[in-house]
């Protein structure tokens, strides 16, 4: 019996099954689920940023004029704040990713919650330092 050949719920109502799917992975209640959801959300946001970034870089091919306007935009504090969020997402996603890689390789599985707390704390510390540097405080 292959894993997929199980009886299971027939996919009779595609929309309902899709909604059930979304509700299913969002209904976790413990720290592990928070980690799981955090990883998904930051991952999706980073994918969105990837496309935004590739779009912006297109302006480079249009010559120096349009690029200057982009650079000007990036001096704006609001945009800078958004950029700092990008760094936060990378930190959170990356450090939690390391936790997942370790745990998934059978390393420290029983300490998965401590790993998560450590990853998030490290992200927070690095984030604060980066923000202070970005806004010229240090």
């Amino acid at each position: 019996m292959s894993a997929t050949a199980r009886t299971g719920h027939p996919a009779r109502r595609p929309l309902q099954s899709t909604l059930r799917g979304a509700a299913g992975w969002a209904r976790g209640r413990h720290l592990g689920s928070v980690a799981f959801l955090t990883n998904r959300v930051t991952g999706l946001l980073l994918v969105a940023y990837l496309y935004l970034h590739l779009g912006v870089l297109y302006l480079l091919t249009r010559g120096s004029g349009s690029w200057a306007s982009v650079l000007h935009l990036f001096k704006n504090h609001y945009v800078l704040s958004l950029e700092s969020l990008l760094i936060l997402f990378i930190l959170v996603h990356g450090l939690n990713g390391i936790r997942l890689a370790l745990v998934g390789s059978g390393i420290g599985v029983r300490h998965q919650k401590a790993w998560f707390t450590a990853a998030m704390s490290a992200s927070a510390v690095v984030y604060v330092v980066v923000v202070l540097a970005m806004f010229g405080v240090i």
Partner: protein, 131 residues
């Protein structure tokens, strides 16, 4: 009293080659680790190879004219897209689209990844050629 328990009667699983489950997960881990390294190199190069960072158009173009930079940035894009597409696939898989839906998702991310990769490399090539 030594007790011997009979070996469990196993229904032999149908012999079927693994369908890439381990490949997806292991390559996600490997690409994730590579991204960490490449992201570090990416940031360091932008700030130190290009003196003072990429402040204007000319600097960006000259930065990309460095073959080492070109190689690292290309690899970065490649690994990033691989990791992103696998992640996207994993997220979409959990929406309950069923077996056929999942096959479609796999093809979908292959196509999307190819387009994204093609565009990215064109972008890099176009910019490198401008200098």
């Amino acid at each position: 009293m030594a007790v011997r328990v009979p070996a469990p009667a196993r229904r032999p699983p149908e012999t079927q080659p693994a369908r890439g489950g381990s490949l997806a997960w292991i390559s996600q881990v490997v690409s994730g680790i590579l991204l960490f390294v490449l992201l570090g190199v990416h940031i360091v190069m932008q700030h130190f190879v290009a003196k003072g960072g990429l402040r204007d158009y000319a600097q960006v173009l000259s930065y990309l004219s460095n073959p080492a930079v070109l190689a690292v940035e290309s690899l970065f894009v490649l690994v990033l897209i691989w990791h992103a597409m696998l992640g996207l696939r994993a997220v979409l898989f959990d929406f309950g689209f069923g077996h056929r839906g999942q096959a479609a998702i796999t093809w979908g991310v292959v196509v999307l990844g190819t387009i994204t990769g093609g565009y990215s490399f064109w972008l890099i090539a176009a910019l490198a050629a401008k200098n």
